[in-house]
Amino acid sequence: MQFWLIQTLNSVAFGGLLFLLSSGFSLIFGLMRIPNLAHGAVFMLGAYFGATFIELGINFWIAALLSGLGVGVLGLLLERLILRRLAGNEQGQVLVTLGISFIVADVCLMVWTGDPIPLPAPAALRAPIFVAGFAFPTYRLAVLAVALVIAAGLYLLIERTRLGAMIRAGVDDMEMARGVGIPISKLYMLVFLLGTALAGIGGTLGGPILNADPGLDSQMLPLALVVVILGGIGSLVGALVGSLIVGFLYNFGTALVPDLAYFVLFFPMVLVLVLMPQGLFGRVPQ
């Protein structure tokens, strides 16, 4: 009983973290039609930025925001200075983002060395809480709460604002959106800023659980891919549901069928790709 409870909590909490990682990935993927393979590197950079800000004595939550901002600005520059020049060349854009991820990883190694840097969780959240006689890390629940708040905020932004309507229009039919006068190029910049900033915040918030260390990028990128393919490209609800599903698959897969853990994680992705390529909540391309 206790096992199921802990693993369920683990799954949901890990899902929250995955949402922070993959919502931005999904937005960018949905609008620009390219998987931003630098997204894992951006997440890692967020963790390192957060570690540095916290070391400078900045409050944890503010450090997370600053780190999101810093990483977001870099994402914006990446879009404006490099990807923009490759407009229409999707293969080129994908390869460039892959290259960027290697560059970011090596720069991180130079600046922050190869040793993992632990990020301290906020003092108030360090002690575990006891639920029905077992201990669970309070901080993980806090991450879940933050993820839900951000999810709600994003939902309002996408579904209830003019900007959100423009993004949705761009995701659904780029040509038509451009035709009716939506400034798609500005939209690209904004979405890239938003998407990478979310990953940056996620990196810092994930730091106390995962540490900032080299390799974090390559650990997280495949998870973001699975989430987005399961949930559906460009769909916020899809990213949330996908994150939770992957959280459960990851935790229960490794616990119940450890030898098949990766199979359990990736097989549903294959199934979805074959049976419903648009994902669970993806919009059908017009």
């Binding site: 096992f3 683990n10 190869g114 993992p116 632990p118 201990a135 260390d213 390799g215 490794t254 616990a255």
Partner: protein, 416 residues
């Protein structure tokens, strides 16, 4: 993709200490060919942390000797393999064919060593590695390969002995990276622990790049006496941190890379009291080691751990073998024979000699994390002298068994 050809001279200049390599005593400028050492390490990618420490250890060793061994200047050619076997192989080729190195120090990882196994044999290049793969010095020994550190299980065996006999543990679990190194280490632990009457009731194998160990911590049985950690790199650190998040109290025992000095200060309180076994501890109280630790702290501001001590020890082994052949490292057969038969009485890890398979016979230390003078150290609580890679088993009988693996020895006592 070029080799970073960096003479020891530049290395010295960069740290502001030392003298020119060609100005070594008794050596006229340019007249004596330098000893060329090919150094295979990892400076980029996830394994870079250990690789950079390897470079620090070797650089320091040579610097302390004015980059002169047995009257000959030494030139080190550093190659960054990225921890990728294919690159390791091409770098090894570059080092031998273009730089004409006399020997290799490195590589770091077992799969890298396996990738150049044949190449070492074909080119007859003496190799002093830190890679732990058991069969490199057991069932398929490479005559050009020596290992002054430890095979995967060599340090796990004494830990198991200590756990069963001294700590009286009876029910234990193992958790380790799901790679050959983790398999071999846990297998050695299990063999010795169960031969001493204990039972391994649970074995967990998280993938090497597991981001979150929460799911594994939750699986660990509640009634264990202790848990053996067979992690490599920074995974031990990550596991420990997440283990503490869940406020688990079961004691942890570390393999030789789980509780490493290079990360011990970051682990801090989380590691306090944990026992681990390794062929080295920065806390070893010998003059040689005290000097090594002091210089590491002065030059690099870190405590040496597994990797820095490994190449520093390899430096001592190289020096002793070069001395034994009167500096004539070009005579490969004589040099290799010397490498295999020398006894180096006073390295930072204690005395070093090799068995007939090229693997070290040396001390293994049971260490406990304590606070000493404001920092955390692995204090030695027990020394197992002259431990062999075969532990106390007869080598012939040992080699008839399959190599240690995930499935061997079979786990008879697993509980569901």
């Amino acid at each position: 993709m070029t080799i970073h050809r960096r003479s020891a001279l530049k290395g010295l200049a960069a740290t502001g200490v030392g003298t020119a390599i060609f100005g070594a005593p008794g050596v006229l400028r340019g007249e004596v060919d330098p000893i060329r050492v090919g150094f295979l390490t990892v400076k980029t990618g996830p394994l870079a942390s250990g690789g950079i420490q390897m470079e620090e250890g070797l650089t320091l060793y040579l610097k302390e000797r004015n980059s002169t061994l047995s009257g000959r200047p030494v030139q080190v050619y550093i190659a960054d393999t990225g921890g990728v076997p294919a690159i390791t192989k091409s770098k090894a080729q570059e080092l031998v064919e273009r730089a004409k190195v006399h020997c290799f120090i490195g590589p770091l990882a077992a799969f890298e060593a396996l990738a150049i196994d044949d190449y070492i044999r074909d080119t007859q290049t003496p190799t002093m590695s830190v890679a732990a793969a058991e069969d490199m010095t057991q069932r398929k020994p490479n005559p050009w390969f020596v290992r002054a550190t430890s095979s995967s299980s060599q340090c796990a065996s004494p830990m198991a002995d200590y756990a069963a006999k001294e700590l009286k543990y009876a029910h234990m679990a193992t958790i380790a990276d799901d790679i050959a190194y983790g398999h071999e280490m846990c297998a050695g632990f299990q063999q010795v622990f169960e031969d001493a009457g204990g039972r391994i009731v649970q074995k967990l194998w998280p993938p090497l790049n597991t981001p979150d160990y929460g799911a594994y911590v939750a699986q660990l049985k509640p009634d264990l006496d202790a848990i053996f950690l067979g992690f490599a790199g920074s995974n031990g650190f990550k596991f420990l941190k997440q283990y503490r998040e869940y406020a688990r109290k079961t004691p942890l025992l570390g393999g030789m890379t789980a509780i490493d000095e290079s990360l011990l200060q970051q682990m801090g309180e989380d590691a306090l009291g944990i026992l681990s076994s390794c062929w080295y501890s920065a806390d070893l109280d010998s003059p040689t080691n005290r000097k090594f630790v002091a210089n590491m702290e002065r030059v690099y501001k870190v405590d040496p751990g597994f990797y820095a001590a490994a190449t520093y020890t390899n430096g001592a082994v190289l020096e002793a073998a070069v001395k034994a052949v009167g500096g004539r490292i070009e005579d490969k057969n004589a040099f290799m024979a010397a490498l295999r038969t020398i006894k180096v009485p006073d390295t930072v890890r204690g005395p070093v000699s090799f068995d007939r398979y090229g693997n070290v016979v040396g001390n293994v230390y049971i260490r406990k994390v304590v606070r000493k003078g404001g920092k955390f150290v692995n204090a030695v609580v027990r020394t197992y002298p002259d431990v062999s890679q075969f532990w106390t088993y007869d080598p012939k009988a040992f080699l008839k068994n399959p190599v240690y693996s995930r499935d061997y020895p079979p786990a008879r006592y697993l509980e569901q």
